[in-house]
């Protein structure tokens, strides 16, 4: 099929305005990437300003069989917004309006290009906030959060994006515009909302989002516990969860991370620190006091070297500083790192981490572990130097091995970054052909004609050892970023 771009471009320009159609080869380069390492040039980019414009663009592309890739801020870590097969990229970054805030019912309707943190900032005057807080929240869009079903450090108590979205206005592959779900907590029929959330832009383009807002907690307290042994820290995590305490967040770092963080931000961890736990509790002032005391009690069972707490925002930020600065600090240990994203049952943390240590010892590559430990979401980071021949391949192999380990102990391939292009070849580790076939049939159910984000999520047939695919599993989020 040959594409007549000479006719498609003017059509798109007529819909969104000439300024907002990008087609010069030089300009397209800035749409070839997202936050992952994948790259592919789109054929043309349009920036619509309304659902109607999205619909018109979709119709134009669909008529010419041009794949359509929605794009938020392009912070995704699994290649979701990369136009693997070229086509039309619909960048939603002009649709940044907060359309409605219903304070009484704690519901807001926003456009997909609204930046996650902006919504919380806008509604903070009403004492409200939007709970999902991916570490990229300063940059990522709510449309992207919906597509990836993003989580964040505080999703332990409050849940991920899907738990906070009531309804979506979407554009289907035939250009039809429809709401699924709505502003109400229940609606009749299949939960299309729930199916579209986390579908990585493969089923429909999201043009409006009705979200639930939460009341800002009355009090917040952060506890930092330092252990000499990683095992003790992981056991403390299971201990906290097992004791029936569900804090807002439980984050963890291992010794390598600690030494890097200490060097970079002088977080002030004591000598001999082998693991750090950061626990945040929020809610009623009384609840915060009681729960922190309970957390402290559990931590004390595992020989902590030190426990510190803080309620003041500045002091709390200090406790968080080591954790937030750690990725940037890893750059001090090695020029490159490969960040893996997997989840394991919390009771298997000790075992998983010790087996990761085993992998590191066997292969000779240091692996630094930072974790959203409360939900068992691990980010082991394999340290390497891409300038050394064979290092990259070795690191990738280790990354694959860690994912296999996660699945083996009852975990999953991705806790929060999605499958996209990065992990599609690993899907068979978790799912049978029948499982994947059932999933894949969602696309015809939405009559997508396979034009929405083709080639994502499911294996393309290349074997797991295929180096290009392995390379795609690398996740470099930026040294100073906080993942």
């Amino acid at each position: 099929m040959t594409l007549d771009m000479n006719s498609i471009i003017p059509q798109l320009q007529a819909v969104v305005g000439a300024e907002y159609v990008i087609h010069k080869p030089e300009d397209l380069i800035v749409f070839e990437y997202d936050g992952s390492v994948d790259r592919a040039l789109p054929t043309v980019v349009a920036l619509p300003d309304s659902a109607e414009q999205v619909s018109e663009c979709v119709k134009i592309a669909e008529r010419s069989g041009l794949p359509i890739v929605a794009r938020g801020a392009g912070t995704g870590l699994s290649g979701g917004a990369v136009a693997e097969h070229g086509g039309l990229v619909l960048a939603m970054t002009r649709m940044t309006r907060i359309l409605e805030v219903d304070v009484e019912n704690r519901v807001a309707i926003v456009e997909p290009g609204v930046v996650n943190l902006h919504l919380s900032e806008q509604v903070s005057k009403h004492g409200l906030y939007f709970a999902p807080d991916p570490s990229s929240q300063r940059a990522c869009t709510i449309g992207g959060n919906v597509a990836e079903n993003s989580g964040g450090p505080h999703c332990l108590a409050y849940g991920v994006t899907t738990n906070h979205v009531l309804g979506l206005e979407v554009v289907y592959a035939d250009g039809g515009i429809e709401w699924v779900g709505g502003i109400h907590r229940e609606s009749p029929g299949f939960d299309l909302r729930g199916i579209i959330i986390g579908s990585e832009g493969t089923l429909a383009i999201v043009t409006k989002i009705a979200v639930r807002l939460l009341r800002q907690p009355e009090a917040v307290k952060t506890l930092l516990a330092v252990f000499s042994e990683l095992d003790d820290a992981s056991a403390a995590v299971s201990g906290i969860i097992g004791a029936g305490i569900v804090p807002a967040a439980i984050e963890m770092m291992d010794e390598l991370c600690i030494s890097a963080a200490e060097a970079a931000v002088h977080a002030g961890y004591p000598e001999g620190a082998g693991a750090v736990l950061l626990v945040e509790v929020d809610g009623l002032a009384e609840a915060v006091e009681e729960e922190v005391a309970a957390v402290e009690e559990v931590c004390n069972l595992y020989d902590p070297l030190e426990i510190r707490t803080a309620t003041d925002p500045v002091e709390r930020e200090k406790l968080w500083s080591g954790r937030k600065g750690v990725l940037g600090a890893l750059g001090r240990l090695a020029p490159n790192y490969l960040l893996v994203d997997g989840t394991v049952p919390r009771t298997r943390l000790v075992e998983t981490l010790s087996r990761i240590k085993g992998i590191s010892e066997r292969t000779g590559y240091p692996i630094a572990n930072l974790l959203h430990a409360g939900d068992g979401n691990l980010h082991p980071s394999v340290l390497f130097d891409e300038r050394k021949p064979g290092d990259t391949e070795a690191a990738l192999k280790i990354g694959g091995e860690i994912l296999e380990l996660c699945v083996e102990v009852g975990g999953v391939l991705s806790g929060e970054h999605g499958i996209g292009l990065e992990k599609q070849e690993y899907m068979p580790l978790m799912f049978t052909d029948a499982d994947m076939d059932v999933m894949a049939r969602l696309r015809p159910s939405f009559s997508t004609n396979n034009i929405f984000n083709p080639g994502k999520i499911f294996p393309t047939g290349a074997s797991c050892s295929d180096i290009r695919q392995m390379a795609a599993a690398i996740q470099r989020a930026g040294p100073g970023a906080y993942v």
Binding site: Y20, I22, K24, P25, E26, D27, L28, I29, V30, F31, E32, Y33, D34, G35, L41, L47, A73, G74, T75, A91, T93, R94, T96, G113, V115, H118, S136, R138, A139, C140, L327, G328, R476, A477, G478, P479, G480, A481, Y482
Partner: protein, 444 residues
């Protein structure tokens, strides 16, 4: 032009990076396209376009570096639109030194660009033949002053003659600085410290500031003296070269840097105090500018360490909090070159906070650029005004009657914005208010 593969037309060398002033490859690849900088960038916020974002601009640099594309007009356009406010640098978790990347890139652009447009000609004349020479600049300013005083200005403005003749000239005229009645000039004079001397400081007089903001410079000197500083203004100092680097005239900037290093190093001072944020950031980065100069790299490093922004210097001293009160509602716009390049945000606020009686209100998005950015107001008039417009919207929400800032470019831009909207507010330097409070102490 994309993907110059074998057999395809090669990109003409003119269109590629070359020579010493090319963006540092290792710096380029520090960018992992995480997008954290997007929301900090004023041009991205105005357009929502990745092409007008830091990440996009870096991607274009990488692509030119990889010889996938050349520096075509459209590529250059995206770099030109960068205000060089360096807000992206602060937001970047990976430590990408955007400031030096764009500086080097603009030097490459300058090499390749054929100066055709009148605007660029004028820019060249003023930058290379006027700014560095206080004498010529003064002459020009006197003419401007005469023009402003004569009433001819208002006549011209009213008649719209200019606008019809040459729209871009008309725009430039509109933002022409209000020339002050007295100039500040560096003649090697020394101002004695009040009371016991605590430090000896040299002051950068700069190029535009002493002329446009003569009285304000005097205020800076008074404030320093009041705080026990002996202040010298070395005579042979020249413009810091900031605007030259902004548009890619790096060799000119280096020449000025070397001269200033020599002059100030001879002055025997504890610190070189700079009242203009743009100049301060340039001078703090002389070390980078002259890194490959065997004679000067070490000197430049030592010199850069001596450079202090006025607010930073006062707070470190520490300054004496004024006792007299001022009755006004004030807000503060972070000057990009102070907040982003020098990472100084709390010092000016602490100074304002110290003045009794004054009510301080935070300006929403205070850290977002006002659109001034060196010659940006002139070369990218339309965009500059778009950015200014957002700033003025934010300012109006504060209800403040004084808007303070820390850089002459910002001052002029904000003054223009306020005049355009006819707001009953004044734009001042932070040090103006401090000086005013000190003077009140004396008078009452």
């Amino acid at each position: 032009m994309v993907e110059a593969k074998h057999g395809e037309a090669r990109i003409a060398p003119d269109f590629l990076f070359s020579g010493p002033d090319a963006p540092e490859e290792s710096d380029l690849y520090k960018c992992v396209h995480c997008g954290f900088c997007l929301q900090a960038c004023p041009t991205y916020l105005e357009t929502g376009l990745e092409t007008e974002s830091p990440r996009g601009r870096i991607a274009l640099m990488k692509a030119v570096n990889e010889e996938r594309i050349g520096m075509t007009d459209s590529v250059i356009r995206h770099w030109d639109l960068c205000i060089q406010c360096r807000a992206c640098e602060v937001a970047c978790p990976s430590g990408v030194p955007y400031g030096s990347l764009i500086e080097a890139t603009m030097a490459q652009v300058e090499r390749r660009r054929k100066p055709g447009a009148l605007a660029r000609f004028a820019e060249n004349v003023s930058l290379n033949h006027v700014l560095p020479h206080q004498g010529r600049l003064k002459l020009l300013m006197s003419a401007a002053k005469a023009y402003q005083r004569s009433g001819a200005q208002s006549l011209v403005r009213k008649s719209g003659v200019l606008r019809r003749l040459a729209p871009s000239l008309a725009d430039m005229e509109a933002s022409m600085p209000r020339v002050s009645s007295t100039y500040f000039s560096a003649k090697g004079q020394t101002v004695e410290a009040e009371g016991e001397a605590r430090a000896r400081a040299a002051i950068l007089s700069g190029c535009v500031m002493p002329l446009v903001n003569g009285p304000e410079m005097d205020a800076v000197v008074r404030v320093l003296a009041r705080n026990g500083c002996e202040v010298v203004a070395p005579e042979r100092q020249v413009c810091c070269g900031a605007i030259h680097s902004h548009v890619g005239y790096l060799d000119a900037a280096r020449k000025m840097a070397r001269r200033n290093i020599d002059v100030f190093s001879e002055a025997g001072v504890d610190a070189v105090v700079v009242a203009s944020a743009g100049c301060g950031s340039r001078m703090k980065e002389y070390a980078h500018l002259l890194r490959d100069d065997p004679q000067y790299s070490e000197k430049a490093r030592r010199f850069s360490d001596m450079v202090k922004d006025i607010h930073e210097f006062l707070v470190e001293l520490p300054f004496v909090p004024p006792r007299a009160a001022l009755d006004c509602r004030v807000t503060y716009q972070d000057s990009c070159h102070l907040a982003n390049a020098q990472r100084i945000t709390s010092a000016p606020r602490r100074i304002l906070d110290s003045i009794p009686g004054m009510e301080f209100v935070e300006l929403p998005n205070a850290g977002r650029c006002c659109g001034a950015g060196g010659t940006y107001t002139i070369t990218e008039r339309e965009f500059s005004l778009r950015v200014l417009n957002s700033k003025m919207d934010d300012f109006e929400t504060t209800g403040a009657d004084v808007l303070t800032t820390a850089n002459p470019g910002c001052l002029m831009q904000l003054q223009y914005g306020i005049a355009e909207r006819g707001l009953p507010a004044q734009v001042k330097y932070v040090t103006d208010l401090l000086d005013e409070a000190y003077r009140r102490e004396r008078s009452g």
